[in-house]
């Protein structure tokens, strides 16, 4: 897939860390398209049409369904700071599902990632095999507008029935900020240097 963000290539010249080795083995076993290890977090990229079968196969040794959610990768944003490099970004949704192992007292875990088209985001539902995914999919549906095919109960979970819009989209403004901008930048006051006397409260002792 060309819109894959950062797929680590198994480079023969460098030694793989234990975590990278684990991610590489997992990717090979499941027939996934690639993996990524950063900050001790393993991500495995899955083809969209193999989403369900990959997750079901992965649950053989990653038994615990931890969570499912999504990320909206957008060039423009109404809230926050946006992406670092909008020009090279491929606009997309990522659906993430995290599974972890519980039986061997190890910390094995992986986040499975599927990339979705932003214009008509749709992915197969996991609810047939993982009952616990139902609420997570409902949340992702109302927050991002992602369709989970096979989940027949995609009614709003958190939001009121009459709510319009998908609040976690980057294009969705935060109304409170429109009304009164948060002085997030200016309230970072300079800290006193460690060798300096604390100015404001130093006189207490």
């Amino acid at each position: 897939m060309t819109d894959q963000p950062t797929t680590a290539e198994a480079d023969e010249s460098t030694e793989l860390s234990a975590l990278e080795q684990y991610a590489s083995d997992l990717t090979d076993r499941l027939g996934a398209t690639g993996y990524d290890v950063e900050f001790d977090t393993v991500r495995v990229f899955v083809e969209l049409d193999k989403w369900v079968e990959t997750i079901v196969a992965a649950r053989e040794d990653l038994e615990l369904f931890s969570w499912l959610s999504a990320i909206d990768w957008s060039k423009t944003t109404e809230v926050g700071e946006g992406v670092a490099d909008p020009d090279s970004l491929v606009e997309r949704f990522e659906v993430l599902c995290r599974l972890s192992s519980v039986r061997e007292h190890n910390a094995d875990a992986a986040i499975f990632v599927a990339v979705l088209d932003r214009s008509e985001p749709s992915i197969a539902s996991l609810t047939e095999f993982i009952g616990g995914a139902a609420w997570h999919e409902r949340e992702a549906h109302e927050m991002f507008g992602i369709d989970f095919v096979g989940n027949d109960n995609l009614i709003p979970l958190y939001l009121p029935d009459a709510f319009v819009g998908n609040p976690l989209l980057k294009s969705y403004p935060l109304i409170a900020r429109e009304v009164k901008p948060w002085p997030g930048d200016v309230d970072v006051e300079p800290m006193p240097e460690p060798d300096q006397e604390p100015a404001a409260d130093g006189g207490a002792s």
Binding site: D40, S66, V83, V102, P160, G184
Partner: protein, 389 residues
């Protein structure tokens, strides 16, 4: 020939289906949870939980706040164990920034996490018997919890929302420590002594609960064999913490994926095999004793030293994605942080424990008796702020 007692008499009683509404304001729902239950006589046919009455949109709010500001938000997710919510978030930020936290700060975080666990479990110990009809344990247990909250307050200044961790360490109140200038920002004087005394009280209340609740015949009849969750279903629905361990799964992040300084501590992971409401109750009770032991060990082992690492004034995390998790009183609590190199996260996914623990309701409740609904709900020990985020 068939014995008389084996002859089954089959009489089909026709009862019309009835839909009843429970909540959102109801004593057994721990906040604002609404259940729409279809009943067939006394049995629940199916149930539709309605949540979201307390949805505050923390994931969206986090996208317009700096890393240091978000700790004030995450305190308020599960307010019964406010401090424990801060830990996985701050660990994630520190991992992104590559900050090494001084050891003493890590031990203080550990002690306060365990105090939060005791206080959260004591709330369960007091409210659960109440839901089953026993009022006495509430008074005893909440009194002891107050001692624990006082300890947390003496260090952090807050009983419920400590907002005490900083990126790079912890920051006690100025003047909280002993009077020499160098230590004026350390733990308050006499904190360890007071904590050890309180831990003795905590052990004592566990013993009292043994006679009051654990061995109580009525409690046992109401909870044993009720709401059984098999291990495979618990894993499928993402149950963690005491709810998972009561189903026989030996899984505790403090041991299996150690963070802070848990790897230096010797403690038992409490499990039970029956998976019923009683098991979930007993696991929590034993975990209180384990937490008290952990705190005693920590007080023995805590080194002297600084409480804060050197941290840049303006925190800009490098681009990357990190998931950090911790064993909170109610189970795995995690944050998935996506940084694009700015002062604020690009996306923060909050994996709150109670939300996942409640997803099993549509599976566990059908077929149960209406009076058992309260017993099952209470045994899952959820906080609606943690469900709705």
């Amino acid at each position: 020939m068939m014995h008389r007692s084996e002859v089954a008499v089959s009489v089909e009683l026709q009862t019309p289906d009835m839909t009843i509404n429970i909540g959102p304001q109801h004593p057994s729902t721990h906040g604002v949870l609404r259940l729409i239950a279809n009943l067939d006589g006394e049995r629940i046919r199916d149930v539709e939980p309605v949540i979201g009455y307390m949805h505050r949109g923390y994931e969206k709010l986090s996208e317009v706040r700096t890393y240091a500001q978000i700790t004030a938000l995450v305190n308020r997710i599960d307010w019964v164990s406010g401090f424990a919510n801060e830990v996985p978030f701050i660990l994630g930020v520190e991992k992104l920034l590559g900050i090494e936290v001084p050891e003493r700060a890590q031990w203080i975080r550990l002690i306060l996490s365990e105090l939060a666990r005791i206080s959260s479990h004591l709330v369960f110990m007091s409210s659960y018997p109440l839901e089953l009809g026993a009022t006495t344990p509430l008074m005893h247990t909440l009194r002891e919890r107050e001692y624990v909250l006082e300890l947390i307050e003496s260090v952090t200044g807050g009983r419920f929302h400590p907002n005490f961790t900083r990126v790079g360490g912890v920051k006690p109140n100025y003047g909280g420590g002993s009077q020499t200038k160098k230590q004026s920002m350390d733990l308050p004087a006499g904190f360890f002594k007071q904590t050890l005394e309180t831990m003795d009280r905590v052990d004592q209340i566990c013993d009292d609960l043994d006679t009051l609740v654990t061995g109580n015949e009525v409690i046992m009849m109401r909870t044993q064999g009720v709401g059984v969750i098999p291990a495979d279903k618990a894993l499928e629905y993402g149950l963690t913490g005491p709810n998972l361990r009561a189903s026989g799964v030996d899984y505790d992040l403090r041991r299996d994926d150690p963070y802070l300084t848990y790897d230096q501590i010797d403690f038992n992971v409490v499990t039970r095999d029956t998976g019923d409401c009683y098991a979930r109750y007993v696991v929590r009770q034993d975990e209180i004793r384990e937490s008290a032991n952990i705190i005693r060990q920590a007080i023995d082992m805590i080194p002297a030293g600084p409480l804060m690492a050197k941290v840049p004034r303006v925190l800009k995390a490098p681009p990357g994605q990190v998931y950090t998790r911790a064993e909170n009183p109610k189970g795995e609590f995690g944050y998935y942080l996506v940084s694009e190199g700015g002062k604020m996260p690009y996306r923060l996914k909050i994996r709150s424990t109670s939300f996942s623990n409640l997803t099993i309701l549509p599976w566990i409740l059908p077929g149960q008796l209406v009076p058992d609904l309260v017993a099952i709900l209470g045994s899952l020990d959820f906080v609606l702020g943690d469900v709705d985020r």
